[in-house]
Structures are given as structure tokens and as C-alpha cells.
């Protein structure tokens, strides 16, 4: 992983035509863009992402900014392409999968060692996509694309404060699908649903369970 300051140089190098630099930018930024797009346009995300990248490749030399700027710029392009598609199809952003399917998407498994695999990327994106659009976008742009509230606000055409509120609400809604935090939780609720609480999440909870 390249440090962000290093990526500033990579952006500059790519602007001067350095292929390796551009490849690195693509590999670093594409997952975030693609996942953001999956929340917006579901199964069309890959097409829209490649369209966005063609534009990025074409216009990169007229872009001015550093790595932070690049992330914001590319997210803007991706969003515009997604909105073009939605307008053309006259539809609204939709979730990629109903939330009911989450248990299937997550690799439900009792093995604690596989904790990290219990929530798959697909399942996580489906969960976020089930939020109202503004909340889903706020969460994705802030957490996954890694933008700050002000930049996210610019992309969404909203104030930074509104973005913050939307992100909080989104996270709170997501959290509401989980049982309350571990210390307040009676042990018997633990195994009610594979998705809701597949594993214990903190060292404290784990210790408690061992007793």
C-alpha cells in the first residue's frame, strides 16, 4: 500500500502518461468506486464503472489536484455516469438485494475463526444499499471512498452538516439491525440469528462467554 503522500506523486506521474502509475491509481480506487456504484445502480455497476474509467483515462491530464482531489474527482465522475444511466432508465437507485437475503449472502458459519468472512463484501454492500439513498451514499462516500463530509457534500449537492446527519442516520439504522452492544446483552440472545450476531465482537464479550 502506498502512503497517501506517495499517491500524490503517483497522480502526477499518471498525468504525465506513466502507465504503471495509472495502473496503481486504478487498482487503488476502482474497488471503492465499483462498490459505491453497486449501491447506486446494482448490477449495472461494472458497466458504469468502466465508462467512468474511460472518462478518467481520457481527462486525467486536464485534472489538477492531488490524491485527495483525485478521489473526489473520480467519485464525481462515477456518480454522474450512474445518474445518466438512472435518468435514461427512468429509475431510482435501488438496492442490489433485499435485506432478507443477507443471511444467504453472508457465509453463515459457526466457526469463530472465520469471523472476518462471516460478513461478505456483497452482504455488507447489500445492507448499506437497503438504506434510503441519501444515507447509503453518505455512508459509502465517507467510509468506502474515504471522503470527508465537505467533499461528500459537494458531490451530493448538499451541505456538509446534512451529509453528516445522513451518515449518522444510516449507521444508526444499520446498527438497529444488530442487537445492542455486547456488554448489555443477555447471553441467550447471542445465537438468535446468524446474520444479526454471528460472532462476539470484543475481547470483553469473549471473556464473558468463557466464564
Amino acid at each position: 500500500m502506498v502512503a497517501p503522500e506517495g499517491l500524490d506523486d503517483v497522480v502526477r506521474a499518471a498525468q504525465q502518461g506513466d502507465e504503471a502509475a495509472f495502473r496503481l491509481l486504478y487498482r487503488t480506487q476502482q474497488p471503492a468506486l465499483l462498490r459505491y456504484l453497486r449501491v447506486l445502480v446494482a448490477e449495472d455497476a461494472e458497466d458504469v464503472a468502466s465508462e467512468a474509467w474511460l472518462q478518467i483515462a481520457r481527462d486525467l491530464r486536464s485534472f489538477s489536484g492531488d490524491w485527495d482531489g483525485f478521489r473526489g474527482w473520480t467519485a464525481t465522475i462515477a456518480r454522474h455516469r450512474a445518474m445518466d444511466l438512472l435518468r435514461a432508465q427512468r429509475r431510482r437507485p435501488q438496492s442490489s438485494a433485499p435485506v432478507d437475503h443477507l443471511t444467504e449472502l453472508s457465509a453463515a458459519d459457526d466457526t469463530a475463526d472465520r469471523a472476518m468472512e462471516l460478513v461478505t463484501t456483497d452482504a455488507a454492500l447489500a445492507l448499506i444499499a437497503s438504506l434510503p439513498q441519501e444515507q447509503a451514499e453518505a455512508v459509502m462516500l465517507r467510509v468506502v471512498v474515504g471522503l470527508d463530509a465537505a467533499t461528500t457534500g459537494k458531490i451530493l449537492g448538499r451541505r456538509a452538516g446534512a451529509v453528516r446527519t445522513a451518515a449518522y442516520r444510516g449507521l444508526r439504522q444499520l446498527a438497529a439491525r444488530f442487537p445492542p452492544p455486547a456488554p448489555q446483552r443477555p447471553p441467550e440472545q447471542r445465537r438468535t440469528a446468524a446474520w444479526n450476531n454471528p460472532v462476539t465482537n470484543s475481547a470483553a464479550a469473549a471473556l464473558k462467554e468463557m466464564r
Binding site: M1, P4, E19, F22, R23, Y26, R27, Q30, P31, L34, E46, L54, Q55, A57, R58, D59, S62, F63, S64, G65, G72, T76, H80, D84, L85, R87, A88, A112, D113, A115, M116, V119, T121, A123, I128, M140, V143, G146, A150, T151, G153, K154, G157, R159, A160, Y168, L171, R172, A176, F178, P179, P180, P181, A182, N201, S202, A203, A205, E209, M210
Partner: protein, 258 residues
């Protein structure tokens, strides 16, 4: 079960930390970690196409920002010379053509000449779009040199009245609005030197709204200029992808033990 209200205060703090990419011990850690997990091969499957597009873009002439006065003066001089030479040549050719017309020369000369120039220039102007058949696009146009605002004007005036009004709220026209001075349809129409238009293409908003080069080029310039008064107030710095994205060390501490 705690009601959402009861732990929303805590949640706001936790949410801040989650947004920053911290581990909080909350179950959402897992969800967000999964959402920011390292790329899969499938997600990077389009790399070859994108790289090809990058190479093609490198072949196209670079967008020229501005010329120095000296360079443009030299360019003008050169142009002048070329014109003079061309005049001289055409006079000669005119003579030749006259001769040909009058039957003084054998035939093939006139027939051969027009063929020469085409193929090379076509290849050079090929654009990335041609590599992806997925989305039909308007044919490649040499827009690189065109002024961005001119371009926006052109796009803007393609639309009918309603669509124009809507388009002005689209961040893509932010630059145009700024140049026209006001987010007002008539004002922008005036600026672009166009009158109202009520063509049947009004329903084709999506398709006429085709991708276009020249996205806002300033880091602060994308999105919508309604937010000009905003300043980054949570530090202004974007962290790198905030979440520990590797499957390595950060995850082990939160991993349950038996």
C-alpha cells in the same frame, strides 16, 4: 433490548469513530470492514480495457492550455509563410490543372491526389469508447481543443426549456452557470446566445445527456457550486482509505476466542 433512542447518543460517538475508520467493537465494524475489504480479482477485471484507454488517451494531442505570446507570434508567422507558400503552390498547381484541363498533361494526376490523407488521421483520433461496445456513444469528436464552456453551451442548448432549467441544477453545468453569472435559464441562454427551443427531443434527456470530456478540473470545483460557502470543517484532510483493509493485524484483536 435497548431502544434506539437510548443508545443513540453513544451511537453518534460510535458513528463518528466508525466513519473515521476506527474499530469500535460494534458489530458494524464487521460490515464496514467487509465493505472496504481489499479488491477481488473480479473487481479489477476491467483493468486491461482501462489501460488501453489510458494509452489511447496518451496518443491524442494534449489539451492545450495557453500558448506563450512568443510561441503564438511564431505560430502566426509560420502560418503566414505557409499561406504564402500555399498561394504560390496553388498558382503553380493552377497552372498544372489548367494544363491538364486543356489536355496538355496525361490523365492520372487529377485522380490520384485526393486519396492520400485519410487513414492515418482516422487512426489517431480513435478514442477509448471504441474499445467498449457496451454503451453506444456519439462518435468521437475532436473536442479536446474546444473550450469547455463552449461545449457546455452546446450541450445546454440541445435541451428544451424544462430540461435546461433542470440541467442548471446539475453540477455538471456549474461552470457554465458561474460564467453566465446566475443560475437562471434565460441568463444562461443569453450567455450562450441561444433562444428557447422546443424540440421533440425533450423526452430524450437521458440519451442527449451523453458523457462529455472536460469534467471540472479543480479539486474544489466538482459537484455543485451551491456549496461554495462550505469549508472542510472536520480537519479538511482526507485520510487514506480509512479502514484497515488488510486481513492482517487489525482484525485479530477483535476476533473472538474460544
Amino acid at each position: 433490548m435497548t431502544s434506539p433512542e437510548e443508545w443513540s447518543e453513544m451511537d453518534r460517538r460510535t458513528a463518528d469513530r466508525l466513519l473515521r475508520g476506527d474499530r469500535t467493537g460494534h458489530p458494524l465494524d464487521q460490515v464496514l470492514a467487509a465493505a472496504t475489504a481489499p479488491a477481488t480479482a473480479q473487481e479489477l477485471a476491467g483493468e486491461a480495457d482501462v489501460m488501453a484507454a489510458f494509452r489511447t488517451a496518451g496518443l491524442a494531442p494534449a489539451p492545450r492550455r495557453r500558448c506563450s505570446p512568443l510561441r503564438s507570434a511564431v505560430a502566426r508567422l509560420l502560418t503566414l509563410k505557409v499561406v504564402v507558400v500555399a498561394l504560390g503552390t496553388s498558382a503553380t498547381i493552377g497552372g498544372v490543372a489548367l494544363a491538364a484541363n486543356t489536355g496538355a498533361l496525361p490523365g492520372p494526376l487529377a485522380d490520384d491526389s485526393p486519396i492520400v490523407s485519410t487513414p492515418a488521421s482516422r487512426a489517431a483520433s480513435a478514442t477509448p469508447e471504441q474499445t467498449t461496445p457496451a454503451v453506444p456513444r456519439p462518435a468521437a469528436t475532436p473536442t479536446v481543443h474546444r473550450d469547455r464552456v463552449t461545449e457546455l453551451c452546446q450541450e445546454f442548448t440541445l435541451h428544451d426549456r424544462d430540461t435546461r432549467t433542470r440541467a442548471l441544477n446539475d453540477g455538471r453545468f456549474g461552470e457554465l452557470v458561474k460564467r453566465a453569472g446566475e443560475r437562471d435559464r434565460e441568463r444562461v441562454e443569453q450567455f450562450c446566445g441561444s433562444g428557447p427551443r422546443n424540440s421533440p427531443s425533450s423526452s430524450a434527456f437521458g440519451s442527449t445527456f451523453s458523457p462529455r470530456p472536460g469534467y471540472p478540473t479543480q479539486p474544489g470545483g466538482y459537484g455543485d457550486d451551491r456549496d461554495d460557502e462550505q469549508r472542510p470543517d472536520d480537519g479538511g484532510q482526507w485520510s487514506p482509505r480509512p479502514r484497515p483493509s488488510g486481513s492482517a493485524s487489525p482484525s485479530t484483536s477483535s476476533r473472538p476466542r474460544r
